[in-house]
Amino acid sequence: MIKRIAGAGLMLLSAHASADSPASFMVRYAQAAGVAVTALSPARGEALYRGEHPGKNGTAQSCASCHTASPKQAGQTRVGKRIEPLAPAANPQRFTDAAKVEKWFRRNCTDVLARECSAQEKGDFIAWLNQLK
């Protein structure tokens, strides 16, 4: 009995892990925003990435401040640690783990935009990154 429950749990876990992909996140965020996946906009996603906002010490900041102008390149945290590329084309690990994706949107949107990002924004963002070759 216990074995069967544990087995079912494992299957659920692995099914869950393998289900997450950039495309599945786009579907999820589009649904949460109440729009069709096809209504997600790579152009708005790119604008979000490059948009500059007042930073802590008077300098402008954007996603690109740490992730560099090209999300296919590795970036750097403020204390110099490497950040693996954001674009799935350069880093297949991206957008494969829901907890991680939500954690970093929560942290980085509040840091850069001083607010959380909407589901629409998250969907647009991934739509842009996912079509980079």
Binding site: R78, V79, G80, K103, R106, R107, N108, D111
Partner: protein
């Protein structure tokens, strides 16, 4: 008769004590720091390594007291100017680990040294503010700290090239230009 009994007693006591002494691992190993003065305790902890090290080196818990770690982990929404918030379960798990191995946990030689130089009531937020850190780095000039290649005193690995492995001895130091 009496002497014989006493003799047996003494032998038994000495025997037990020496057995105890030999069965305990030598100081360094027992405390997980491998014995070297500049070695960080060798520790593994999934959440600590995953979460803390996604932005910076997973700084050794032995470099700050428990009171400091409670302050750090209680303020992750504003972690040195960045939002480093975690879900409550992960946060609590990491704090337990940090407290268990903190400078004042008595579990590492390097922690003892950090505490020797610290005010009892102090709970610094930055490792770089501890007297131990300042003393260890007193030969590094302000100009060197300010180099772009160093970036920040939080960037241990800029000079301690094997910092990620917990190796901080002077032989492995290369200050970048």
């Amino acid at each position: 008769m009496n002497y014989v009994l006493r003799g047996i007693g003494v032998l038994a006591t000495v025997g037990t004590l020496s057995l105890l002494a030999f069965s305990l691992p030598s100081g360094g190993e027992a405390r997980g720091d491998g014995g070297g003065d500049d070695l960080m305790p060798r520790l593994t902890h999934n959440n600590w390594q995953q979460e803390c090290a996604s932005c910076h080196l997973a700084y050794s818990p032995a470099l700050l007291p428990q009171s400091s770690w409670r302050r750090v982990m209680g303020g992750l929404e504003q972690h040195f100017g960045e939002n480093a918030s975690l879900d409550p379960a992960t946060q609590a798990d990491i704090l337990r680990f940090l407290e268990a191995n903190a400078a004042d946990s008595g579990r590492s030689r390097i922690g003892d040294k950090v505490m020797q130089r610290m005010d009892k009531k102090a709970a610094p937020l930055r490792i770089t503010e501890t007297r131990w850190f300042v003393k260890q780095h007193d030969e590094v000039s302000r100009a060197t700290w300010a180099r772009k290649s160093v970036g920040s005193a939080a960037n241990c690995a800029a000079c301690h090239r094997q910092a990620e492995k917990g190796i901080f001895d002077e032989d492995t130091v290369r200050i970048p230009k």
